[in-house]
């Protein structure tokens, strides 16, 4: 009896979190149902027999695998170097790394072309002609988008290393190599599967990059076929089939990865610590220098090319144009609530996963919850939005509700990133405090107050990512948008869609600057001064 009561009480305490997750699941399922409603299974066998479909699936898998492995291979030593060394510009670099993934694709493509293209800097300056169009171009672009993301995720993993371990390493005179092997690698291993799956999914469903830099329809992804079915053919049946196929493939990959990956086991680290000095050697210095140069060469030149329009005569007029400010306002109006909603949802997921962690039969739940959040990335945004659109139409909502739909879909789309950032820290706090909490009877808000100083920097980062993603969103707002709801990326596309490429490039600079500023503010205001450590 007492046991049952305590279970009831537990459930009541979890209610807000449950409602959050349920809302997410219900809206998602209903949107999917609205889309699947149009389905006709008899056609499916025919789709599967399409040879081209299998070819693009093979290609998608191949390029996504290469892109994510390459991104991570570079990111691991870069992250190690960045957490051991202090140098001028490190902060700025990390900020830049945060925004790279939200650079609008067309802008990134043009940035890469300016550097590696036929009349680009490499060709003009060094006379090196890069065979850009094909797998190489795709990889360059994907590494540009995702390697920095991987670095940031890995550095988060470094933050979980307890100071005791570093102190020991320092006292024992570990070299960088030994400390990497004995201390860093076990923590990297924890972040790696999640980061891999995230980047893999992003590359697997990459669209414009693969088409534009792929050099022809040989390089194509499932996403292209989905877009074609949904927009050009208005074949909802085929679109939903292809989306389900994409979800199935990504789930398979994710399952495989998590199968070979170690189970999520957090250690109790007492305090988040600064990295103690580890013996520096010339070999280590050379290696760090080499790997940082490589990473910077891959990321910085396209950024310089992207920021180049600052010096053009068009920049000031574009910056001062009322339409730019109008678009900026719309962007903020969407991104701020969407980001908060996303972090709130992420929190709901986190609370539930923590509760279930290590509790016998429920132990399977955390990874399932994370996967649920990740599912969003596998379903193309356009499909998700279309389903939601159909659902809302059938419920009788009209054009007026489009603002809220855009906010909701953006919040949901950012969820995988929020979860990646939040979950490891939340798990760690649970490990650390669970016994204290239950023996002292601390619940709810009080727990939050105790942990806030420890999780705030992660919450800030999650919010920052959600902000960036919503600011950079293009697909959702384009489907739902109406006049008056023109965000910065949409404004950019309007400009380049009517020959105004230079003004478009200027708007891109403004958009990226806004991303940088907001990300900085989010991490600074909510995360607190990063050197304040307990």
């Amino acid at each position: 009896m007492i046991y049952r009561l305590s279970v009831m009480r537990q459930l009541v305490r979890l209610l807000p979190a449950l409602i959050g997750v349920l809302l997410f699941v219900l809206v998602g399922a209903a949107s999917l149902a609205a889309l699947l409603h149009h389905m006709d299974m008899s056609q499916w066998k025919g789709y599967l027999q399409d040879a081209y479909l299998w070819r693009i699936i093979r290609f998608s898998l191949w390029q996504a695998l290469l892109s994510s492995v390459l991104s991570l291979l570079i990111a691991i030593p870069v992250a190690s170097c960045l957490s051991h060394r202090e140098f001028k510009g490190k902060r700025v670099l990390l900020q830049l790394f945060a925004v790279s993934m939200v650079v609008p694709t067309i802008v990134a493509i043009l940035g890469i072309v300016v550097v590696y293209g036929r009349s680009g800097w490499l060709a003009d300056g060094l006379g090196v002609h890069v065979p850009l169009y094909g797998l190489l171009g795709i990889l360059l672009a994907h590494v540009f988008f995702n390697m920095p993301l991987a670095v940031r995720l890995l550095i988060q993993g470094y933050d979980l290393i307890p100071s005791g371990q570093w102190r020991l390493a320092s006292q024992l005179g570990f070299s960088r190599g030994t400390s990497f092997r004995l201390i860093e690698w076990p923590y990297i291993k924890k972040v790696l599967p999640g980061a891999f799956v995230l980047i893999f999914m992003l590359c697997f469903s990459s669209f414009s990059v693969v088409l534009s830099l792929g050099g022809g329809p040989k390089s194509s992804t499932l996403e292209v076929a989905i877009y074609q079915a949904l927009r050009f053919d208005f074949d909802l049946d085929k679109a939903s089939f292809l989306s389900l196929l994409q979800v199935a493939i990504c789930t398979l990959v994710a399952t495989l990865i998590y199968k070979v990956a170690p189970k999520n086991q957090q250690d109790v680290s007492l305090l988040r610590a600064q990295c103690f000095f580890v013996k520096d050697t010339r070999v280590a210095r050379c290696f760090d220098g080499f790997i940082m140069t490589l990473a910077l060469l891959l990321v910085l030149p396209p950024f310089v090319a992207i920021f180049d329009p600052i010096f053009s005569a068009q920049f000031l007029p574009t910056l001062l144009a009322p339409a730019t400010w109008q678009a900026l306002w719309v962007s903020l109006k969407i991104a701020l609530p969407a980001a908060m909603l996303s972090v709130l949802l992420g929190g709901c997921f986190g609370v539930l996963a923590r509760m279930a962690m290590g509790r016998g039969w429920w132990d399977f739940l955390p990874s399932k919850l994370e996967h649920l959040g990740n599912m969003i990335l596998m379903v193309p945004g356009l499909v998700l939005a279309t389903g939601l659109f159909l659902l809302l139409r059938s419920l009788g909502f009209g054009l007026q509700s489009s603002y809220w739909v855009v906010v909701w879909v953006n919040a949901v789309m950012a969820l995988p990133f929020v979860l990646r950032v939040l979950m490891p820290v939340l798990y760690q706090q649970e490990r650390r405090y669970r016994n204290v909490y239950s023996s002292l009877g601390i619940y709810g808000w009080s727990r939050f107050k105790i942990e806030w100083s420890l999780i705030r920097s992660s919450v800030a980062q999650a919010l920052g990512y959600a902000l960036l993603l919503s600011l950079g969103d293009m697909g959702v707002i384009a489907l739902f948008g109406s006049q008056g709801l023109v965000s910065l990326p949409l404004y950019l596309f309007q400009l380049v869609g009517s020959y105004r490429l230079e003004e478009g490039a200027c708007v891109a600079v403004i958009l990226i600057s806004l991303c940088l500023i907001l990300f900085y503010l989010a991490t600074r205001v909510i995360g607190g001064k990063s050197d304040v450590r307990d």
Partner: protein, 333 residues
């Protein structure tokens, strides 16, 4: 959390007051975004028509012309759209099959299009021809025919994907009209010196402007923009001795239009100077009626078609998928 609720309430309130502030009837026109943008023809058309009708015009913008159609299809019979503006020749048949469009009742006999306009549902609003654009400063011997472009292995070509963009589909039909049954071989030849095939018009055109290719698929009217808006004269449209394939953009009203009378009035308005005078330098396309006011001089210098190629609309609607597959097969061989 409270702050969030407060701010969201404030935003909701602002949205509500915004939507209920006007009392005049509002005509909803679905169109693609660059048409309704500040520098597109949209704002002028809105002002001109509002003067005539005493109503409000609200542009609902979608990312592309195919987007307009799929948006209306998604909304079905309950759509708030009165008029769809921005479909093209190749989408007409498909749009009609949705059963959502009504006959316009507009007299189109004075319309000047490549082939006489007889369609009762659609009213054309501007037109042009697909063409390859080159930079005359860097390309000394420009192509003079589609065959040149297909066969000259030294020419680096960028075009758009027929699965995702209207010009891409235009090229598909152009090739079909010129090469007929031999289109597959022509595609395979072209694929050997194709730099890349982009998702949309702007990706391809931007890559071309960055110097990634010698020619890019666009419209005969593209050079006019560079001359009028930028004062640049080096961009030229390559002539095609086989003939050009036309692009005609059209509008239609919906059967279930919430404001049928206004929609009808707007459909007739399309063929008046109030609308037609805006398309040349707003949308960089040719108007569809003879105008009193001449177009900017540069429009006279653009290559004229020696012959206008067209395919039968029904055939296009039926064969589109097969032709796209043929293109895919040939280019991925």
């Amino acid at each position: 959390m409270n702050k969030f609720l407060l701010s969201s309430c404030a935003i909701a309130g602002a949205l509500l007051s915004f939507s209920s502030s006007s009392f005049a009837e509002t005509l909803n026109v679905y169109t693609y975004d660059s048409f309704a943008s500040d520098w597109g023809p949209g704002p002028k058309i809105k002002a001109n028509f509002e003067k005539e009708c005493g109503c409000d015009v609200n542009f609902v913008t979608v990312d592309s012309s195919v987007g307009i159609l799929s948006r209306v299809q998604l909304e079905g019979k309950s759509s708030e759209a009165d008029v769809v503006l921005g479909l093209d020749l190749n989408l007409m048949q498909k749009a009609k099959q949705t059963g959502l469009l009504a006959e316009s009742g507009v007299d189109t006999s004075h319309v000047v299009t490549p082939t006489p306009w007889t369609d009762p549902v659609f009213v054309p609003f501007d037109q042009g021809y697909f063409a390859f654009i080159y930079n005359s400063e860097t390309l000394s011997s420009p192509p003079t025919s589609l065959q040149d472009i297909v066969e000259n292995q030294n020419l680096r070509v960028i075009y758009q994907d027929p699965r995702t963009s209207t010009p891409g589909l235009g090229l598909l039909l152009w090739m079909k009209a010129v090469y007929g049954d031999k289109a597959a071989d022509a595609w395979a030849t072209l694929a050997k010196h194709t730099v890349t095939v982009t998702k949309g018009w702007y990706d391809g055109y931007s890559l071309f402007l960055k110097g990634e290719s010698d020619v890019v698929l666009s419209y005969t009217t593209s050079p006019a923009y560079h001359v009028v808006a930028e004062g640049k004269h080096q961009y030229k449209a390559a002539p095609a001795s086989e003939g050009f394939y036309p692009q005609v953009e059209v509008a239609a009203m919906l059967k279930n239009a919430p404001h049928p009378a206004l929609a009808k009035q707007f459909m007739s308005f399309i063929l008046t100077p109030g609308f037609q005078s805006t398309v040349a330098t707003g949308n960089w396309m040719f108007p569809v009626i003879k105008q009193d006011k001449p177009l900017p001089a540069v429009f006279k210098t653009l290559p004229k078609p020696t012959k206008v190629l067209t395919l039968d609309a029904d055939e296009v609607a039926q064969q589109r998928k097969a032709w796209i597959n043929e293109w895919l097969e040939a280019t991925t061989r």
